[in-house]
Amino acid sequence: MLLVSKCHFLGHKKLLGLILCIVLFALPFLLDQYLGRAWVRIIDFALLFSLLALGLNIVVGYAGLLDLGYIAFFAVGAYCYGLLCSPQFGLHWPFWFVLPLGALLAGLFGIVLGAPTLKLRGDYLAIVTLGFGEIIRIFLNNLNHPVNITNGAQGITLIDPLQWQSISLAQTIHWGGIEIAPVHYYYFVFLFCTMFMLVVSSRLERSRIGRAWMAIREDEVAAACMGLNTRNIKLTAFAMGASFGGLAGGLFAAFQGFISPESFTLTDSIMVLCMVVLGGMGHVSGVVLGAILLSVLPEILRYAGPLQMTLLHRVWVDPSDLRMLLFGLALIVMMLLRPKGLWPAKHGASTNAPSENTEPPAKNAQHG
């Protein structure tokens, strides 16, 4: 009897998963059809920010290291791709090599920038990482002088899209009456990467390393007394988080075709941090939710202008003012009502042991 109901439950879950897959597949086409191409682009960026938020979640959510310069790793990945796949140096390396390289390079930067901050906590760590983030941006802005590397504030243009031999994601094709544009392709690329990183994040979370990160977040001295090499474990968190950012940066450069230091400001770091905090620190689904909400909601508010025109025949409140106002208000309300985020981590659930008895989970539940 119990088994039957369990099977039923599993079937339910599978059905939900299937529906989710179909919705995710159809989403860009539906958005394109009913809301316009701009919305597909917005969703693309929402996914890109999900990647960033997942990366920052490793550093802030799991390891408890408040990083305010996270966007620097995004910049490292973007410039790595931008310099190696553009006319800037006349290099057009294949993306399947440059994207992982960008992630790796960003990971390395994570270690290099993380190492001097190992003894710092909380506010002090935030200030130093903020400084590092700005240093990277200023470097990118000024590395055009004796030797022109980054093209300074002009940025890098004509960056290659994701392409392989004659197939390029920058083409538009018509297929059975549906127009498939680059924004659609990139949607699926970003979706795949986000899914992949979701799996990576949750595997890490449930592992020995993930537990070590959380132990350091909870109490560093006690963690050291449990035999954790806190230095290495923190550096691992910095490196892993940064590599997510590096990958997202490479994808961003390929998607936009243009990058400049202006895309990597402190405001962007804070935005990603807000996504993590709003969604629920340390919880992958919550973090993705936060990223999507904070990317999509400001765009919805753009409609506030036209809406006022039609309803009130005059724009009383400037939509851009409204955006920041509502954003601030939302954060304050959140901190008051749900300080742990919209969708916080459920602790204890991360170890897949049964709740009451100490026996391993029943095998037959798997076959349902």
Partner: protein, 266 residues
């Protein structure tokens, strides 16, 4: 067996600014014994633990564990060498479940890294299952099976103290250093703790115990030392310590020994 020394401290000294927290303290803890450390508040007992576990470096003196010097080792290396401790002011990983707390303790004896976790390799899965089984077993030893899935901060005070012991045991220590494990426990909890400690000792664990509950210490320990203002004023069997005039004067005042722990004599 029994008279082989496990931890030796030679002339340890530590000062904080002008305050001499420890001065020329020497100890010799033998393998398999229960060694008690008592002394009034501020005597330097916790400071001694912090030196042993590498949280502070000693200003003077040396420590030997299994005849190997501990000087210069980091806290985590000392834990790997085989010394585990609990904390006087409980320091659990409060937002993690009791089970996860103990699983963290298994860290130094396991090896799955980032890659093993990412690829979910067979060895990583086997090790994870081993950690889980071991953590459950330790919770059971410490009488916490029912609390496995509860977050550490939700546990009762007594359970938290026991969880600290379970977590320390997970590091597979040779020496378990307990900083006031009975503080704040009621009578039944204290009795349960005593049973647990005797059980561990019977299995060969060497215990170093700081305790204000003099009755408990006297009942448990094979040997003990008394600290006062950072100096060791007595060492020996409970009987010897009880009769030591320095102890009676400096620590116990004129009261008989079976009184509960007196606080600062001043």
């Amino acid at each position: 067996m029994g008279n082989q020394s496990l931890l030796e401290a030679h002339h340890l000294g530590k000062h904080f600014g002008g305050l001499r927290a420890l001065n020329q303290v020497s100890l010799n803890i033998l393998r398999g014994e229960i060694f008690g450390l008592i002394g009034p508040n501020g005597a330097g007992k916790t400071t001694l633990f912090n030196l042993i576990t590498g949280i502070y470096p000693p200003d003077e003196g040396t420590l030997f564990f299994n005849q190997q010097p501990l000087n210069g080792l980091k806290t985590h290396q000392i834990t790997r060498a085989g010394i585990a401790r609990t904390f006087q002011n409980i320091r659990l990983f409060s937002q993690m479940s009791a089970l996860e707390n103990v699983m963290v303790g298994c860290h130094p004896r396991t090896r799955t890294g980032v890659w093993g976790a990412l690829f979910n390799t067979a060895s990583a899965r086997a090790e994870e299952a081993m950690i889980l089984a071991r953590a459950h077993a330790l919770l059971k030893t410490c009488g916490l099976s029912q609390q496995a899935q509860r977050q550490a901060y939700q546990l009762s005070y007594g359970d938290q103290r026991r969880l600290e012991i379970a977590r320390a045991l997970a590091t597979e220590p040779q020496l378990l250093a307990l900083d006031e494990p009975a503080a704040g426990l009621n009578h039944t909890e204290t009795e349960a703790l005593k049973t647990l400690l005797l059980h561990l000792n019977a299995q060969g664990m060497t215990l170093l115990l700081i305790e204000h509950d003099v009755k408990l210490v006297m009942g448990l320990c094979d040997r003990m030392a008394v600290l006062d203002f950072g100096e060791k004023i007595a060492e020996g069997s409970p009987r010897e310590v009880r009769q030591n005039p320095h102890v009676i004067k400096a620590y116990l005042g004129t009261d008989p020994i079976d009184e509960p722990a007196p606080v600062n004599p001043s």
